[in-house]
Assembly symmetry: C2
Homo-oligomer: 242 residues x 2
């Protein structure tokens, strides 16, 4: 079997550990320090190759990406200003393309888990956010880790929402298995696995939506490569459904 | 906080355990027995509330959903006969709606991890398959478990593929959080989480694509409710992108 490039090695077991007790985050706060402090209070320590998944909401808050929205009209105006394009609209829902290229509802502007009268936007550059958090985590702990900044997106053809990666640092978000052969020696049909999105989804299972747990550690993967979450954006030329 | 219906309780830690050593599966084989035998050889036993995730390929093989495809033309003909509709076509790739309602490439017909000259189709009724496997697992072990049958699908706007649930038994595949409030007491914007798809994605991280590991145990969730994977299919009336 050819070793995958930017892939993920076979694992014996994965652990997904929610990081509880991070509490609320305010503009200017150090997200990496907040995660490490909460982990320490739970008796947890980072290990080499851990993937630290953090929901964008605390990252956005720390980066001051909060706006006052007194009315629904204010909210809609904020969505319009955050969106690069509106692809579809139905009632209050706008399916938008963000300035990063992500296709999601309402340009990722969200009023849950934010004080009343405020809304939180996506980070300006979530890959840069992930990179900054990773550098801080590695500096503080001496461990080599990866970071995923996640958000909750809908899908075109499936109901319900899942968490996906909007920022990554420390690994290639798509495991490129081209040239890898299956158990019969046949080259795989499936060659590009969006492992960053699978990691975000796995972390969400341990975090929940209402519980105020904005981070989780995914332990047991052996990730490789480098890349950006914008690698996960299908370019319009390859998009049959826009 | 209102308890979610069909939701998932807060967890302290999730474990995702690959089930190695299942080996090849032939028509008529008992998938549940094969999983339990492989687990036993690894010193593993099912526990109450375990979610057993199994890739559809072994389920389809056991159900005899295999066809001879001597040529690429045979393969294309098989895809046509398995598809209810072809939504888009580009070169060899057909984006199809299957008879179950799933939107995926080539009607889910796959030539990886199948002997040369053969292709494997999706199960006729993957929810029924999941249910049968669950009943067999519960009968053999006396434990209450859930089952997910997974496949690897592409997405409209994002590159790479992720594993999703095409069959479920023993829980509601969408966690309905309507009425749940966030940490500020505000009703959540995100109310329907596709936990079955997140479980399938998490399991894939432990299985890989080339390694011949067709099952994994997701341990630590506390799932509720009942439902079918077809609940995850967005109906055409709610689909803005078909």
């Amino acid at each position: 079997m050819t070793a995958p490039t930017g892939g993920y090695a076979r694992v014996t077991m994965l652990s997904i550990i929610p990081v509880t007790g991070i509490g609320d985050v305010s503009p200017g706060d150090d997200v990496a320090a907040a995660i490490l402090a909460a982990m320490a209070r739970s008796g947890l320590a980072l290990e080499d190759r851990d993937v630290v998944v953090v929901t964008h909401k605390v990252v956005s808050k720390a980066e001051g990406r909060i706006a006052a929205v007194a009315t629904d009209r204010d909210y809609r105006d904020l969505v319009e200003s955050e969106a690069e394009a509106v692809l579809r609209r139905r009632g209050d829902l706008a399916i938008t393309k963000t300035k990063h290229g992500f296709v999601c509802a309402n340009a990722g502007v969200d009023r849950s888990n934010v004080p009343d009268g405020q809304a939180v936007m996506l980070p300006i550059d979530p890959d840069r956010s992930a990179h900054s958090i990773r550098r801080r985590l590695e500096h503080e702990t001496g461990k080599h880790v990866a970071v995923v900044v996640s958000d909750t997106f809908g899908r075109a053809w499936r109901t319900g929402l899942t968490d996906v990666a909007i920022g990554v640092s420390g690994f290639a978000p798509i495991a490129d298995l081209r040239g890898t052969t299956d158990m019969y020696g046949r080259v795989l049909d499936v060659t590009e696995v969006a492992i960053a999105d699978e990691i975000a989804a796995a972390a969400d299972l341990a975090m929940g939506k209402a519980s105020g747990v904005p981070a989780a550690i995914v332990r047991g993967l052996d990730l490789a490569g480098e890349g950006r979450a914008t690698d996960l954006v299908r370019q319009p030329a390859g998009d049959l459904f826009r």
